[in-house]
């Protein structure tokens, strides 16, 4: 059996794919496992886990376009050649963990009629195809600003059809007693919205150097040298070791595996630390969701801050020292018990209600009590809009050409979108997102089949809304969203 894993996203995503690759290898020992990534990120490929690495040279494809007269046909020829080469592999399984429009088209062009696909692809009429429930969950509920709390690494495993165990997370670990007395700081300035200011990092470094006798080492890419220079210019007897722009990815991997502690934001080194069991103090700014991309290594802590001004350098230093000496947390938002265990919240996090609704819909958990009368009102409005749409579907059943009915159904979609806006009832968003995704999953079929399939999705929405509307908000029944043959429980966690 030949399996292709498509991971065309960024460096951190490739590292977050490692546990899934390990599990695939473990569960399919005789399979040939290929991994497709961007050529730029080849250094992050785990060659021990795969039989073949395929690199998509994006720069080579786009190079003919960098001209006043872009050579589009030349770029297309390169894409043609790549697709033909991939299609000739005749994969039994393709697992697309990229979740992008580009990868959806690519997979559709390289799968054969007998390939089992999970992750995004395309139908033969070009519409997005989401064949598996894990990818449908990803489409509906994952991303910054959404209330999902499942980690990307676990979602990757779910889409791939594997269950991660502790051994799937063990790469190049040093036993804790052998670790060098070094704190690594990844300043992560390639995206300034994800990191602290140079001034704050400077204060953190000063604080660490004065309170701890070990080394403080700055790491990062060449693009961050100038930023790092401002931080490294700390006055005093002791200075940090500035290796920003001086190390290869492989060297960073080794350094992380040997360090006592890594401090950083949402970044590739944090994902590396999850693989090497290195504790991380993750300073997480609102632009990222720590639930999805936070550290998984035992002993890690997450400081989720609403803005840089809400966390002081002293707090970061104190938390770091507490981690190094095994002290209880002082300011951490979340503690990490290990890669196969859920995060432990040290203080309640926003949007807990929406997360509980997601658990109700996808995981068979009990639906939460409604948070407000406004929410109940919103659900009643959704019910009205949904019933209107279902009535128009009945009209279409009798006369599929009825344009008025089609227009009303489109308008119903717009009304649902308005109900979940931030100024209206955003708590209902997970329900509407689930509904829209299930409608999206309807494939090409005759008009009669399309109407019937659409009606089924509307009926399922009706069932979910009725949990709140029919009960009058007094009791929330347990209910599941029946996604298929697995008795309605779509995800295990």
């Amino acid at each position: 059996m030949k399996i292709l894993v498509v991971q065309l996203a960024r460096l951190g995503d490739i590292y977050q794919t490692w546990p899934t690759l390990h599990a695939l290898q473990r569960q399919n020992p005789s399979a040939e496992l290929h991994l497709l990534t961007r050529g730029t990120f080849a250094a992050a490929v785990p060659h021990d886990l795969i039989d073949r690495h395929i690199a998509l040279d994006t720069r080579d494809v786009l190079a003919p376009l960098i001209d006043e007269k872009p050579a589009i046909d030349t770029s297309l020829e390169k894409l043609d050649g790549f697709c033909d080469q991939m299609r000739a592999e005749n994969y039994h399984r393709i697992i697309n963990l990229s979740f992008s429009a580009f990868s959806s088209y690519l997979v559709s062009q390289i799968e054969s009629s007998t390939t089992t696909v999970s992750g995004y692809s395309r139908f033969n009429d070009g519409y997005l195809r989401i064949p598996d429930d894990g990818s449908a969950y990803f489409y509906a509920q994952v991303g910054v600003g959404r209330p999902n709390r499942l980690h990307i690494s676990d979602l990757f495993a779910y889409v791939a059809g594997v269950e991660l165990t502790a051994e799937d997370w063990e790469f190049g670990r040093s036993p804790s007693q052998d670790r060098a007395p070094a704190i690594l700081i990844h300043i992560g300035a390639s995206d300034l919205s994800k990191t602290l200011s140079s001034g704050k990092w400077l204060q953190v470094v000063k604080g660490l150097l004065s309170a701890w006798s070990g080394e403080v080492v700055l790491i990062g890419s060449a693009a961050e040298r100038e930023f790092a220079a401002q931080i490294a210019a700390v006055s005093g007897e002791r200075r940090p070791v500035n290796l920003v722009g001086e190390t290869s990815l492989a060297e960073v991997f080794t350094m992380v595996s040997e360090a006592r502690l890594l401090i950083g934001g949402d970044s590739a080194p944090v994902q590396i630390a999850s693989l090497t069991g290195t504790p991380v103090l993750n300073v997480s700014l609102p632009i990222v969701s720590f639930w999805e991309t936070g550290p998984r290594s035992k002993g890690s802590r997450i400081l989720a801050v609403s803005a840089e001004e809400t966390v002081s350098a002293e707090e970061i230093v104190a938390e770091s020292l507490a981690m190094l000496t095994g002290q209880a947390t002082t300011a951490a938002t979340v503690r990490v018990l290990g890669p196969t265990l859920p995060y432990v919240e040290m203080r309640p996090q926003p949007r807990a209600f929406e997360w509980e609704v997601i658990r109700g819909m996808y995981m068979g958990e009990k639906f939460p009590e409604p948070p407000s009368d406004l929410f109940l009102l919103g659900m009643k409005r959704l019910l009205d809009v949904n019933l209107l749409a279902m009535e128009q579907l009945e009209v279409l059943r009798k006369n599929p050409q009825n344009k008025t009915a089609s227009t009303i159904i489109d308008r119903a979609d717009e009304l649902m979108e308005q109900i979940i806006q931030p100024q209206m009832v955003p708590e209902a968003a997970p329900v509407v997102q689930w509904f829209r995704t299930e409608r999206l999953r309807i494939g090409p079929m005759s008009i009669d089949q399309l109407i019937e399939a659409t009606h089924i999705v509307h009926q399922r929405l009706h069932d979910v809304i009725n949990i709140y509307v029919n009960s009058g908000g007094g009791e929330s029944e347990q209910a599941v969203v029946d996604g298929g043959d697995d008795d309605g429980v779509i995800l295990d966690k």
């Binding site: 872009p70 995004y120 997005l128 989401i130 991303g143 829209r436 409608r439």
Partner: protein, 65 residues
């Protein structure tokens, strides 16, 4: 040429390319059929968009039937 200037030029060419790809797609899509050619043009369009700042590369735009 400064790196900022080079980056600006790169963005210019990419946007120009994206517009030309979109024009070709519009012509093909108006005929109503989805072909390998259309799929490859869409691939190229998405690949270009990924290189343009502030384009959301995670969300795959889907449309219901």
């Amino acid at each position: 040429m400064s790196s900022e200037s080079a980056r600006h030029d790169l963005q210019h060419f990419l946007r120009l390319s994206a517009a030309q790809v979109r024009y070709r797609l519009g012509t093909l899509e108006s005929k109503g059929t989805y072909s390998v050619r259309v799929a490859r043009l869409r691939m190229l369009e998405e690949l270009i968009k990924e290189q343009i700042p502030h384009e959301d590369t995670r969300r795959s735009a889907g449309q219901t039937r």
